[in-house]
């Protein structure tokens, strides 16, 4: 009876399956950060002058900034001079122009992760940009998409091939000096994905980026920019993994979304960076700035995230509701087990008239995990008839973990309707017993209850991701009862 439960505490935690290292010859810049390093990165990538200057400006700004202290997370100060800001698998010549030229070791790495890069083997309907450490190593289905005028490529390629679009939109949603980590990213970002959907086009497949950190002592600073022109639609997926290492690694990404009039962007993340071990050794510091702007009437941006990995997660995917009738959504599941910490939520800034936003946040804390929801709903003066609905649920497993909720509401217009609901519950011994009494194993019972708790979010994930997310939760929670 009680002994069964106690045993669970020591039950095997299934290994972090993505924790392997690929032995690659890499071109890595020595650790340290200075204007020279930034010039070197920019030169390696043959960047136009405007971008180098943009980076340097961000860097100088960053030097004047301090690390944010307001989040409910704790970690020792990061030595930014000990990080290498550029690591790329060595390649012959100018880099692969087709998949046949991609290093087989890389293809194998992605195969192991369940992300086949050979187009014929891929899930039909998903195009992938694979980012390995600092660079994009392959982008699939590019040609097919290009025929519709869709640009889907690595950020570096976009800088070379579409500098005007990059110059027009880069930093237009997340300015280089927005916050400490965004400024750092703006100075040193190395690669990422770029998407442009032309006017009136519905992207026929899911676009996705798969981020992989491999090298040690490197940070990953990628930048994603998605532009949905008027009346276009796109659904974008993002996945991430990293090897198991004892030291912490920094991942400071910036994602900018621009939805013009009548356009819709759905951005889904399944974040499974290495979370560290049970004692809290190692793991990724995931300090990410994600923001979208509904820059025209009737535009819609929807963020869905399932955050199971990382030692520390610090991210607030947000929407600027500029256009009239624009819609912002944020659906989130954040899980912290062992010593993981998450401080995550969203900002919905209502600027246009009749704008509406929905926030559904599900936090799960197990082990000694600490999970904070932090959200801002801001209704500006001119935002007549703004609507927000926020639901914020926390689930606790065991009594050594914590859940915290910090909802901030600022309303400057009397016609606004803002609703907030919050619940905190413990995964009930009585719920577990009920399921077990019907014949389910304790693990299956936990999985069923937790998945039930997350259902509202899983329901809005694209199919392939929903299955993946469910599996991830199960793996991340193994041994969490007791």
């Amino acid at each position: 009876m009680s002994s069964n439960t106690l045993d669970l505490d020591t039950l095997i935690r299934r290994d972090y399956a993505a924790g392997f290292v690929t032995d690659m010859d890499a071109d890595t810049v020595p650790p340290g950060l200075s204007e020279d390093v930034i010039r070197l990165i920019s030169a390696k990538k043959n960047e136009p002058q405007f971008l180098l200057e943009w980076r340097l400006k961000a860097y100088r700004h960053w030097l004047s900034m301090e690390t944010p202290q307001w989040a409910q997370v704790h970690y020792p100060p990061i030595d930014y001079q000990a990080i290498s800001y550029y690591s790329a698998p060595k390649r012959k010549g100018d880099g692969p122009s087709s998949l046949d030229e991609v290093d087989p070791k890389l293809i194998e790495t992605y195969n192991k992760l369940g992300i086949p890069l050979q187009e014929q083997e891929m899930l039909a309907g998903v195009a992938v940009d694979a980012v390995f450490d600092s660079v994009s190593v392959a982008t699939t289905f590019k040609d097919k998409l290009a025929k519709m005028g869709i640009i889907f490529c690595s950020f570096s390629e976009a800088v070379r091939e579409h500098p005007d679009l990059v110059e027009q939109y880069l930093g237009s949603v997340v300015p280089p000096g927005d916050n400490f980590y965004a400024a750092l990213n703006s100075a040193v970002f190395t690669d990422g994905s770029f998407v442009y959907i032309p006017r009136g086009v519905r992207c026929p497949m899911e676009l996705s980026t798969y981020f992989r950190i491999n090298a040690s002592n490197t940070g990953q600073f990628e930048r994603t920019l998605i532009i949905a022109d008027e009346a276009s639609h796109v659904s974008y997926l993002e996945g991430c993994t990293a090897p198991m290492r004892d030291e912490n690694q920094l991942h400071a990404a910036v994602v900018e979304l621009v939805a013009l009039k009548d356009a819709q962007i759905k951005y889904s993340t399944v974040q499974n960076w290495y979370p560290g071990d049970e004692e809290g050794r190692g793991g990724i510091y995931n300090f990410v700035t994600k923001r979208g702007a509904c820059r025209g009437d009737n535009a819609k941006i929807s963020w869905t995230q399932v955050e199971t990995g990382s030692a520390i997660t610090w991210k607030y995917p947000s929407v600027l509701l500029e256009g009239d009738n624009s819609v912002g959504e944020f659906y989130s599941v954040a899980l912290t087990n062992n010593r993981q910490q998450a401080d995550t939520g969203t900002k919905m800034i209502h600027i246009g008239k009749n704008t509406s936003s929905t926030i559904i946040s599900k936090g799960i804390s197990a082990g000694r995990g600490q999970n904070a929801y932090r959200g801002l709903v801001k209704v500006l003066k001119g935002a007549e008839n703004a609507r927000n609905y926020t639901q914020c649920d926390s689930l606790l497993m065991g009594d050594r973990c914590g859940a915290h909720t910090f909802p901030y509401i600022e309303v400057r217009n009397r016609s606004a309707q803002v609703e907030h609901e919050a619940t905190t519950s413990k995964i009930g011994d009585d719920q577990l017993f009920y399921c077990r009494q019907r014949g389910l194993s304790e693990e299956d019972a936990v999985s069923m209850i937790v998945n039930g708790f997350c259902k509202q979010v899983f329901n809005v994930l694209p199919m392939e991701f929903a299955v993946e997310a469910q599996k991830l939760l199960d793996i991340s929670l193994e041994g969490a009862v007791g």
């Binding site: 009876m1 009680s2 069964n4 439960t5 009930g428 011994d429 009585d430 719920q431 017993f433 009920y434 399921c435 077990r436 009494q437 019907r438 014949g439 389910l440 194993s441 304790e442 299956d444 069923m448 209850i449 998945n451 039930g452 708790f453 997350c454 259902k455 509202q456």
Partner: protein, 259 residues
């Protein structure tokens, strides 16, 4: 089928059961009655293996197996079913999903093939007719927003789908109107056969008008203080529990029941 000897048990460190003796054979229906707080639910939970219900002494043998060594799910898969006095809500988990997972876990344990969705639905629909439950409830979250009566009907539905060898019903009758009571009775009576045994925990004798028990036991202060046939329940109804609820009386009235 079930043999309980000298059962002593604690709940969260508090001594509740003080030497229960009970023998249940296949095919029998035993009613366990007793005043509030006498330990009826404790006995039911101990049989099902709930956490924090610790057996401190005595024997629990079920089908030749020592129940004390089995986890709750193992007991369930061996055919022990508890209809809960207070069925819990599980948000986001559909009722039918839980039931299918439960049935298939049990079938797997017995080496039978798992039922696919089509066969499963057919089975559930057939059973549902007997419990007169709204089909819509199958697709709602487990017990969420169910009325008291709906929760109890749902417990009975689960019992009928799982067809346990030993069903323990903990006050499934309390708070039910007469129609619902009949449904519960129908469910139990449909399970009644040579192979199945039932332990009916109840506070009132009302249910026993519809399910005629083979034995009635009276529990007081964690002990069976009186055992008898159907007429004992009627006696209790007339005279209340006062006359047996005395420690002295209890000592002299202890009998090995049903053996």
């Amino acid at each position: 089928m079930l043999s309980i000897k000298n059962l002593h048990a604690q709940v969260d460190g508090k001594q509740i059961l003080n030497g229960i003796e009970l023998e249940v054979k296949p095919g029998e229906v035993h009613a366990i009655m007793g005043p509030n707080g006498s330990g009826k639910s404790t006995l039911a939970n101990v049989l099902a293996g709930r956490d924090n219900y610790t057996v401190t002494d005595g024997e629990l043998i079920y089908e030749g197996k020592n129940l004390r060594e089995l986890a709750p799910e193992e007991r369930a898969r061996e055919g022990v079913f508890l209809a809960f006095q207070y069925p819990v809500e599980i948000p986001g988990v559909s009722n039918i999903y839980l039931l299918k997972a439960a049935l298939n876990a049990q079938r797997k344990h017995r080496g039978e093939q798992e039922l696919d969705a089509i066969d499963f639905i057919a089975l559930v629909k057939e059973k549902m007719k007997l419990v007169e439950m709204k089909e819509e409830l199958l697709y709602r979250s487990v017990n969420e927003g169910f009325s008291g009566g709906e929760k109890k009907r749902n417990e009975i539905l689960q019992m009928m789908v799982l067809e346990p060898k030993l069903a323990i019903l903990d006050e499934t009758d309390s708070g039910l109107d007469i129609d619902a009571l009949k449904v519960v009775a129908q469910g139990v009576n449909s399970l009644r056969s040579k192979e199945h045994a039932v332990i009916l925990v109840t506070h009132y004798q009302r249910l026993l008008d519809y399910i005629v028990p083979d034995y009635v036991h009276v529990l007081a202060q964690g002990k069976i203080v009186k055992s008898g046939g159907r007429e004992l329940a009627l006696d209790l109804e007339k005279r209340g529990y006062g006359w047996i609820d005395q420690p002295d009386n209890a000592k002299s009235a202890t009998v090995g029941a049903g053996s």
